[in-house]
Symmetry: C2
Subunit: 218 residues, 2 copies
DNA sequence: CAGCAGGTTTCGGTGCGCCGAAATATTGCT
DNA sequence: AGCAATATTTCGGCGCACCGAAACCTGCTG
């Protein structure tokens, strides 16, 4: 178990971790392959390596779980990603819908020292522009009770905590509608594929899929 | 000749280009291998690929020259490297002897957009902290007549233009002696392996090798 | 409870960038 | 000119991360 955490393995760890933030049950190889845009056979192989390094626990034909060591590495990568995103928005003139790809690359190449300098410049922020918690250097993550907007009952009132940054188009759409971290939302109606709501004084509706990208306070 | 310029090829291009800044004659495969810390056989192979992409001109068993296309790519990489170095020093609290390795990595991963943002923030600087000219986005490079301090005759008086950033220890050494870009230097004596000089009012001596890392105005 | 549709793994294979050893070319020296 | 030192290339091979095809499990359905 040498500290040979390649960029590829970092991506795997990050993706497994990200899954646990949105879904309670462990991720399957197929889901991982889809999110990474990689063939299932590649996942099998890579997971074998990661298991050998003690980063994931995996029983053949079963799902996938991070070990403590794996979670620690994953959190370090997530920290990098989110700090870089925050920096791009705060200092480099990026919009919150434009930072994901750049951070995706830089998270693997920024040194610890540079990351620390960024963290200090930004005043050690706790959340990134999408509301995602930024793990501390020691691996602590701020957490707060939440519900997915797609799961919230009618009449639920909450503040937007975070919005998934996976789809820039969704971010632009939500921005246009005044939905961003910190905003109050009231769910007015829940249908099978639509959630109707009131945000920033404006009424509107979201598809269930879009609503699943949003955390609101419980 | 697809635009498949990998990080490895970028390093080769940059190194070949850097050589031409310090030496008039074209670089040999051996020298390139040494500077890159790579086996000679790797250079042969990589050069073949680069020649196939029209980036270098190479006759078997002969030296190595950049084509116009190769120079263009090399300048783009050099621009990245030097802008990043400048940024690290200007904004992120790095010393001029500490930026090389970080820039070495980031030059391959920073997007054009982010680079442009950095350039703008810094006010489109013309030289980096070591005095190296930063090529413009269109590939123009500022130049000024110079002599290597190792080649300067006794009694020569000039201003330090640039100092090679290859060896951090040399940079610290020079900094300690007050030798940095912009400083006036008078060569007081030239021996075979030593150059004696006066800089910032202080007398001192440098090995020929160290002096070969310094450009002064002609 | 047999069969089938899925997901998962195995297997052979690819491109990239690297290596060392061996073959070959060039150069400099006597 | 001849030879030895040195540079360059060729060759087989390696590790990484990926692929597709085929074999193999598992769980669900009929």
């Amino acid at each position: 178990m040498p500290p040979t955490t390649s960029p590829a393995i970092e991506d795997y760890l990050k993706t497994v971790y990200a899954h646990t933030e949105w879904q309670p049950d462990p991720i399957t190889p197929k889901a991982l392959a889809d999110k990474l845009g990689v063939a299932p056979s590649s996942v099998t192989e890579m997971v074998k390596k990661m298991a050998a390094q003690g980063l994931v626990a995996h029983v053949p034909y079963g799902p996938l779980r991070l070990t403590d060591a794996g979670r620690e590495r994953a959190l370090a990568v997530v920290r990098r990603h989110r700090l870089i995103e925050t920096w791009l928005v705060a200092e480099m003139g990026y919009g919150w819908d434009e930072v994901h790809d750049e951070a995706e690359v830089l998270e693997h190449t920024v040194s610890d020292r540079l990351l620390e300098a960024i963290d200090v410049r930004l005043g050690r922020p706790a959340r990134d522009p999408h509301g995602d918690a930024i793990p501390s250097a020691s691996g602590d993550v701020a957490s707060e009770p939440f519900v997915l907007l797609s799961e919230a009952p009618a009449a639920h009132v909450g503040r937007v905590i975070r919005i998934s940054d996976r789809d820039p188009a969704v971010l632009r759409e939500l921005e246009r509608r005044g939905i961003r971290p910190g905003v109050e939302i009231e769910v007015t109606d829940v249908e099978s594929e639509r959630v109707t709501l009131q945000a920033s004084g404006e009424a509107g509706a979201l598809t269930r899929e879009t609503a699943a990208a949003i955390w609101v306070t419980a």
